[in-house]
């Protein structure tokens, strides 16, 4: 998907705003919004690579790609234009999430081809991902509509994919809660860490991607071990209560998140292969190899983890500690060892989840984990705090609900539905779907 030509214009005002933010340092969230504009990009293509959000599309007529069709974007004080490449594909980066107007210039179409009436300007906005496909309908009767059952099927597949990657993170969070009582807000940064490490090893150091992913998962497990050894274990020894521990994890989350931004900057970068085309067709559903591999990885890892919990000695010990630490210790289980193992596996699972999330969004950024932290918490609470299988069920429900809710909710509100469901579940079944009553005390 090579952008052939693109021109970006941007008002000077943004630079003044950026300066104002740096000097006055008053608006707290300003920094979070601005870094994409921090680096100078004189060449148009460079400027485009800095953007986090992309509109993409494919202009074809009679299954033949159309080359050199001009597409322009306008909105939020920004405008740019591009032309389709030899495969009829185009891509336009925009600086911020929001609503944009996309226009196809009818004059650049070949003779005899027209845009369906009133369709040459489309208003579009971004949803969960930072990539938004925009289609223009060409010719008479050329308009392709997907019926409702096909749409539901597409959303279900996407929702499963998203739910499974949430589950990887949620299980770790839930087991850490079960064994230590800690609601770990820094789990978001453990998710981000996986994506960042693949970026470092797979892109910056240009290792093969499979090797980079393995290194990233191992390092994520190492991060879990290191956090436990340097922070959480000493604090448990001091006998710090649970609520201070939770606030410590919030401080840790802030510190780590901005440390990532310090080193990696505020822009979004792509992992190798993240933008490959979706070329697997199953009925109405089109998937890319990445989607298939992502789902397969999640399922295999989750099954392996279930086997570990149910069939191995140490897995049984983990469930015992999660159930009742004192009783487990009294029956001769080394609780500290179990907690260490939970942190290492929790870290590795979170790292893997971050890698898959980086492919699902797509893109790696410093706050990508924090964007889904609440959904992970929602999944864990829905399933029942402290239960591994509850976290799995909760995650899949959250994933499906978010994707399906876009059928009737505007896509920038799809998280709202999931969070409202979380509150409703707490109202009627506070222990969660698989939780037991005594846990809520």
């Amino acid at each position: 998907m090579e952008p052939t030509q693109s021109v970006a214009r941007r008002s000077r005002g943004r630079w003044l705003i950026l300066l104002g933010i740096l000097l006055s340092a008053l608006t707290l969230s300003g920094i979070a919004a601005s870094p994409a504009m921090a680096e100078t990009g004189s060449a148009a293509t460079e400027a485009e690579e800095e953007f986090e959000y992309f509109f993409v599309g494919n202009v074809t007529f009679d299954d033949k790609p159309l080359r050199g069709v001009q597409i322009s974007v306008e909105g939020n004080g920004y405008e740019a234009e591009t032309k389709t490449d030899a495969e009829g594909k185009w891509r336009l980066g925009v600086p911020e999430k929001g609503e944009y107007k996309l226009t196809l210039d009818e004059d650049t179409l070949p003779e005899g081809v027209v845009v369906a009436e009133g369709q040459n300007t489309v208003t579009s906005e971004f949803g969960l991902t930072k990539l938004k496909a925009v289609n223009f309908f060409l010719g008479e009767g050329q308009r392709v509509t997907t019926d409702i059952s096909a749409q539901v099927l597409i959303r279900v597949i996407n929702g499963l994919n998203f739910g499974l990657l949430l589950a990887l993170a949620a299980i770790g969070l839930s087991l850490i809660f079960g064994t230590t009582g800690l609601s770990n807000f820094a789990h978001a940064e453990m998710i981000t860490f996986g994506g960042l490490m693949v970026l470092t090893f797979g892109v910056d150091l240009a290792l093969p991607i499979w090797l980079a992913i393995i290194i990233a998962i191992v390092l994520s497990g190492g991060l879990g071990w290191a956090l436990d050894a340097t922070i959480w274990k000493p604090l448990r020894r001091r006998g710090v209560a649970l609520i201070p521990l939770m606030i410590v994890s919030i401080g840790l989350s802030l510190a780590l998140r901005y440390t990532y931004q310090f080193f990696y900057g505020g822009s979004t970068r792509q992992l190798p292969g993240a933008t490959i085309p979706s070329d697997i067709h199953l009925g109405p559903v089109t998937l890319s190899w990445i989607d298939v591999a992502s789902m397969a990885t999640s399922i295999v890892v989750l099954l392996a983890f279930a086997f570990f919990l149910l069939r191995t000695r140490i897995g049984k010990a983990t469930r015992a500690v999660s159930d009742n630490p004192s009783l487990a210790a009294a029956s001769g289980i080394d609780v500290d060892r179990v907690i260490r193992i939970v942190w290492v596996t929790g870290g590795a699972l979170a790292g893997l989840s971050g890698i898959l999330w980086a492919y699902f969004r797509p893109g790696v950024s410093w706050d990508m984990g924090f964007q889904i932290l609440l959904l992970v918490f929602a999944a864990v609470t829905l399933g029942g705090l402290g239960t591994a299988f509850g976290a799995l069920v909760g995650s899949i429900i959250v994933g499906l609900f978010i994707e399906l809710s876009t059928l009737w909710l505007p896509s920038d509100m799809k998280y709202v539905g999931a969070l409202i469901v979380l509150i409703l579940v707490l109202l009627f079944r506070p222990q969660g779907i698989l939780g037991r009553r005594e846990r809520i005390g």
């Binding site: 740096l22 609503e99 710090v240 201070p244 939770m246 510190a255 780590l256 709202v416 707490l426």
Partner: protein, 327 residues
């Protein structure tokens, strides 16, 4: 050469800035929730957003006068507190934390969405609601003050109103915490079951505390937007975390803690970022860019939260015997 005068005078201005007052008032509300009642409210940003949007929308879309706009914001936050409290106040403390943080995010997403653009201005927010407040200003136009504290009439008016509210609500908090009501909520913090055994309706007391602290947050949200525009991105979860940092710094179960904590927080933050920006400019830290220097302070806030909670959980003014987190 570094312009120390500018760094110090910018930092000194934060001492009485309306932002400092807004954070102090929001932290005071959180002191009632967290410090005195032991409620883990992680949705203070949501209460502030309701104040800001309640005021701005009722002024812009419905043309309400100032007093009515304030009432709309306060009413909205009372309803919000009831919605939050009914499902969660019977449950364990961390459930309230998750629900409040989720509810505050719901509010932010609803204010950001394009669906209600005509009312909320979606991602670009709202402005132009300050007329009614400026008209109430009794100070004749002109520039007043000395040294770094020289402002025009409107800027002084915001500061006077903001800090007057902080003082009034600090006194109010002091009075109600000394009252029998205050003793009950402190009892709830220490041992909920013991208070229940005395025949008190714990649920109802917790709800009253949640509403009261939430109203503080709402008024703080209004002060917060008077010197700037209403932008939904300001009401992210990190806003709540910064208010927690202020509260823990000053002392969770104190009246002066949140106020002095807010002053210290903003003066230090301004001093640090002013110093870093100029030091990087002067080439003292060649390995760091201006943007990186700007991010450094957020890292420090995070580390500060951890260190305070671990090593001085009672904060600067707190009493070690009166810790918010006993359990």
């Amino acid at each position: 050469m570094i312009d120390w005068i500018a760094i110090f005078s910018n930092a000194a201005q934060e001492l009485i800035s309306p932002t400092t007052a807004a954070y102090a008032l929001a932290a005071l509300g959180l002191a009632i929730h967290f410090g005195y009642t032991g409620l883990l409210n992680f949705g203070q940003a949501g209460f502030m957003a309701l104040g800001a949007y309640g005021y701005a929308i009722s002024t812009l879309s419905f043309g309400f006068p100032v007093w009515a706009a304030v009432l709309v914001g306060v009413g909205a936050s009372v309803i919000f507190a009831l919605i939050l409290g009914i499902p969660t106040l019977r449950l364990r403390a961390d459930y309230l934390a998750i629900v409040t943080i989720a509810a505050a995010e719901i509010l932010r997403l609803v204010f950001t969405t394009n669906t209600f653009d005509s009312l909320t201005g979606s991602a670009s927010g709202l402005q132009g609601y300050k007329g009614g407040f400026a008209d109430l200003n009794p100070i004749p136009p002109g520039s007043y003050g000395f040294g770094p504290f020289t402002y025009n009439a409107y800027d002084w008016w915001i500061r006077i109103v903001g800090w007057t509210l902080v003082v009034i609500f600090a006194l109010l908090t002091w009075l109600i915490i000394r009252s029998p009501w205050g003793r009950v909520i402190k009892g709830i913090r220490e041992d909920e079951d013991a208070v229940r055994a005395l025949g008190k309706n714990v649920y109802s007391y917790k709800m009253q505390s949640l509403i009261l602290g939430g109203v503080y947050g709402t008024l703080a949200g209004m002060i917060f937007v008077l010197p700037r525009a209403v932008v939904p991105a300001n009401y992210q979860t990190s806003l709540t975390f910064f208010i927690y940092a202020i509260l823990l710094l000053g002392g969770a179960a104190t009246i002066l803690g949140p106020i002095i904590g807010s002053m210290i927080f903003w003066v230090l933050l301004s001093f640090f970022s002013g110093f870093m920006a100029r030091a990087v400019e002067a080439g003292w830290f060649p390995f760091m860019s201006q943007v990186q220097a700007g991010q450094l302070r957020f890292i420090l806030v995070g580390i500060a939260i951890m260190l305070i909670v671990i090593f001085r959980p009672q904060g600067i003014f707190g009493n070690k015997k009166e810790l918010a987190f006993v359990k």
